[in-house]
Symmetry: C2
Subunit: 288 residues, 2 copies
């Protein structure tokens, strides 16, 4: 496993902070960049970063590998800013949509080496507060080649994935965005709409009558709105297509209920349960 | 705490089976009724039931308290069948909708005593296979008065709730059905539509790219279709009203994405996160 000596993580939030904590003990020297002073102090206190700064230009000066761990649209800005500031380097990002980022990385100067990354893990608690050393363990870590992906950049990206206990999956940015639109972005939309509708009832009895079903189905509605709105926005083509399919499924049930088609309601529920069994089988947790 | 001596549970599935397991050691003698021979054998082997039968008429003959733990529409049939078979007794049910059941119980002969019950807990694994002794622990257990609710029936119902470690909540059937329509039934619909839409993509890459967000948001889609379609059907008025609100929330996001309203996408996500914080506060698990 090949690893860079000096890694600078820009953004010590849930993803970047967890990466710093996961790299502790790996021998990699981590510099943390974050605008929030409290976050910088807290990160330094853990020993997971050897130095911190609020000024990214300072943070990246000596870096072998730069990790962009901010919301997607900030990553896009940083890709451009890095190109203009520094005479080359190696960069990877942790953003949840890949098409726009991979395209931007492809536009960096030829002295840059870059890989698109997306660790498929997360938490409903945003920022450094939510960061944990084991967030990446066992997670799929998607990697996307860019026009600036060199063998060295690919090896370092793979090393990073391995050292934090994740499993690498190389795929194109287009396929990544299409699949995560359904596996990750629409689930967020489903959960967030549920939370918004529950609030809309205007009766705190809803919370009192909630149990594990509501808890789990709504959990990801708490994900950082800055992060999520960037994701939905930068992957809106795939999200809109999958959302239309999702709304069509709701429409099938609504019609069955409204039109008195009891057998239709049953068939709809049976389809969902069959899908769930198939999913559990596919992810290696078959139903008992 | 007052408890009956002999309890007969009709249906040793997830809810009834878990109740039998939870009553073990309480001193209550439990008779189990189930049509499935494998379930009867397995239940008897745990010692949680002292006898089993596939014939409900045999099972209820000596019961002090009869617990109806089958899908809602079967409970409705049993309420009528019990009335015609036996010269009175005490009955409680564990069905997830209460309006239709409480009304049916009110129509039982005057020699009957009846309480509507709904333990607010569940699992995505149906049947005796999913039953666990701790399913009820800490769960809210809704209780609804019927025209046949006597002090004795109410005390036994409360005793049952207490002995399995749940917390009782008396409320009207109407309020129960309205609130659970949003706190439980629409979450199922949201999860089930997600699973159906994910299957509809027709690409197993969706499972490979799924992580904890998909896992949790879709979990309840695996709930027994027999149970869930009965619930949706018997609470269709409330479900349709809440579902319309849910679809309207999806429509707000869809419009913002389709019309290029980036600030609208952000505001939508912020509303969801604010709702999540409020929910966590309300259920005593405030965000850090």
């Amino acid at each position: 496993m090949k690893l860079p000596e000096r890694v600078t993580i820009i953004g010590l939030g849930l993803m970047g902070g967890s990466l710093a904590l996961a790299l502790q003990g790996s021998g990699v020297r981590v510099t943390g960049v974050d605008l929030d002073e409290g976050t910088r102090t807290a990160a330094l206190a853990t020993g997971s970063v050897v130095q911190v700064t609020g000024v990214w230009e300072e943070g990246v000066a000596e870096a072998d590998l730069i990790v962009l761990a901010t919301p997607v649209q900030h990553i896009l800005k940083m890709v451009v800013a890095l190109s203009g500031f520094k005479k080359g380097g190696v960069v990877i990002d942790l953003g949840s949509t890949k098409g726009v980022i991979v395209a931007a990385m492809g536009g960096m100067g030829a002295e840059w080496e870059a890989v698109g990354g997306h660790p498929m893990c997360g938490r409903e608690i945003a920022g450094w507060t939510g960061a944990t050393a084991d967030l990446y363990e066992g997670a799929t870590f998607a990697l996307c080649r860019t026009e600036r992906t060199t063998p060295k950049a690919a090896e370092w990206a793979e090393g990073l994935v391995e050292v934090v206990g994740a499993e690498r999956l190389w795929l194109t940015a287009e396929r990544h965005d299409f699949l995560t639109g359904m596996s990750s972005h629409v689930p967020y939309v489903a959960a967030a709409a549920l939370m918004r509708a529950a609030v809309g009832v205007g009766d705190d009895g809803v919370w009192g009558m909630s149990a594990s079903g509501f808890r789990d189905t709504s959990r990801v509605s708490g994900t950082s709105p800055a992060v999520m709105s960037d994701i939905l926005w930068t992957n809106r083509k795939a999200v809109l297509a999958h959302l239309a399919a999702y709304e069509a499924e709701l429409g099938v049930l609504r019609a069955a209920l409204a039109e008195g088609d009891e057998a239709g309601v049953r068939a709809w529920a049976e389809g969902a349960a069959a899908g769930y069994a198939r999913y559990r089988q596919a992810v290696g947790r078959p139903l008992p």
